[in-house]
Symmetry: C2
């Protein structure tokens, strides 16, 4: 199998190197090819998603991404929108056709104290957020800034709603059998369509799944005040961006949060943390989320659950034995990676 | 002065009655006139914002609103969108021209234990969220659901951005002098306009205020993991809906959260909690937020800061001496209201 790595900006190269090392160890037959994305790709190729990277994706089995984007005051942010690092990421998602972003949010037993929530609320939280990743206000072409007015259009079609809802129902079947669909149907027509289509699909094909609907403002409250009520959450792109980042704080460290983006072709696997330009290049970034993303790549991308489990267990052990600085420990990137390697069976 | 009360649905009538009682006590010269809104207005007048209510607003000095909307499975939710309770609320906001929704989020000293956050994070939190209330995706006429497609349009103009930003800068001048403007400028043109106009206004007229910009997904994280970093937050309608509800969980009880919506005419004052149909009519609802909203009405609507302070102090005392059930106490609506009356100087 062929895996493309796209280290990207900031701490991306460091954490991707760590994840690649682990990937090679548990799956030595995988060929790995590195390409450019994001701000560094703009600097070297004049394009945050260069043609050479796009070409390399053809025939790839999975993509391991680092992080993309610069500091708030980076010159990259003053470029025309299509040249900015984030546009490279959006173009990559589109090129791969990854319409379902999976964000597991799990509080590890014994690590409740890391959560900003009270331990009794954090304990046992195990949510999967499924975010629609190719539709809504993100990609719609009907958008403009012009003098003193600007607009964007939030649009969905039934096929777009159904394909991501299927992923949520499928995931719920492997979990606790509950899906909460999130919308703003009391205000938005686009949410009315979303709710109608998710409901119909459940009635037709997923009667074994318990489905309920909640408004996005209410979910923003409840995910903090009563997170244990959720199993699988499915929602559109913009709401998913906000809610998945919100939920990601519950375990207490973004350094522990991997993600998978799935579509009909190769999947995209990436840590959810940002590019952390302030600590980039110093060898201190926590590579756990990138390594766990490599685990998701093995599980969902290459269908190797045994290798994925091996990584998950080794990371859990390394987190206890050799925690990084963001977790109150002292391990730097290399030390933590070594601890994971040592913990692999 | 003339105040219109709109009790609305669910527990709205109970908490509005309590707030009206307090209002009469501290401002006996105010004339109070009650009108219908929401689901009950639909039931009695066939319209969630009937003409008779609309007419009554002319010449009013302030409006005290209860709560609007039914249970998830209410028949009201099956009505055509313009007939639903929520549409009455949106039409009311529009009729009053209230473009700035003010949501104070304050953790009362000694009540940190109510927060879902760890006490050390909750302590001292004092945020004011200023939400734009008449623009964005909420009101734009370019919206449709049609067969297998639906869309809504998120639109802003420079004057809409500037008028709400002014409220935020003005409020920051009375507080700690910091404004965080929230957008998704890395993806949306409408956010690019927002950021540009807020920045320009600060440069022209509010140089004494410290302004920074953050992305909505990042704010959703930071408001939970580090809420003390914020003073005033200003944002567009939909982001504001989500973030203000999210922030509202920090003090630990929605029953403690008033709001004010200001524009060029009469202001609108309402508790932020929902209509709680499950406990409606039983006399157990916590009226503190409605009473505090009457306080905001006196402060911002009738410019009577002394009477407003009187209410705030009496509520704080009553909360300690006679807490309601949602706060772990035993007081019902009448008992709590009596405690506030007794505590008034
Ligand atoms: C960088 C940005 C375009 C992106 C998004 O909003 O999708 C990010 O927030 C994410 O969630 O991966
Ligand atoms: C009921 C609904 C239309 C409303 C909104 O989204 O504005 C509510 O959530 C609020 O924040 O007052």
């Amino acid at each position: 199998p062929r895996v493309i790595t796209l280290p990207g900006d900031g701490i991306g190269p460091e954490v991707t190197a760590a994840a690649t090392q682990i990937l090679r160890e548990v799956a030595p037959d995988v060929t790995i090819e590195e390409h450019a994305i994001g701000g560094v790709a703009y600097d070297t190729h004049g394009d945050p998603f260069p043609q050479v990277t796009r070409d390399a994706l053809a025939g790839a089995d999975a993509v391991l991404l680092g992080t993309v984007g610069g500091a708030q005051d980076s010159v990259w942010n003053t470029l025309p929108r299509p040249k900015r690092p984030e546009s490279g990421l959006l173009a990559l998602r589109k090129a791969l056709g990854c319409y379902a972003n999976l964000r597991p949010v799990r509080v590890q037993p014994g690590l409740e104290h890391l959560s900003p929530l009270k331990p009794e609320l954090a304990r046992g939280v195990d949510i999967l957020i499924v975010r629609e990743l190719l539709g809504g206000v993100y990609f719609d072409g009907d958008r403009k800034i012009d003098g003193a007015t600007a607009y964007n259009t939030m649009r969905y079609t039934t096929p777009e709603v159904e394909r991501v809802a299927r992923v949520a129902f499928w995931a719920a079947e492997q979990r606790r059998g509950r899906v909460t669909s999130v919308d703003k149907a009391n205000v938005l027509e686009v949410s009315e369509l979303w709710r109608r289509d998710v409901t119909a699909l459940q009635g037709r094909e997923y009667r074994g799944i318990h489905l309920n609907h909640e408004y996005v403002d209410s979910v923003a409250m409840l995910i903090v005040s009563d997170p244990s009520r959720y199993d699988v959450i499915v929602t559109e792109n913009l709401f998913g961006d906000i809610l998945s980042d919100l939920a990601a704080v519950i375990p207490g460290s973004l350094g522990l949060m991997p993600s998978a983006s799935l579509g009909d072709g190769a999947g995209l696997f990436e840590p959810i943390h940002g590019s952390a330009p302030d600590i980039a290049g110093r060898g201190v970034a926590n590579p756990a989320a990138a390594i766990m993303s490599a685990g998701m790549l093995l599980r969902h991308g290459l269908k190797r659950p045994d290798a994925a489990n091996q990584i998950d267990r080794a990371v859990a052990l390394a987190l206890r034995q050799s925690p990084t600085r963001d977790l109150g420990g002292t391990a730097d990137t290399a030390t933590f990676t070594r601890a994971v390697l040592d913990a692999l069976e």
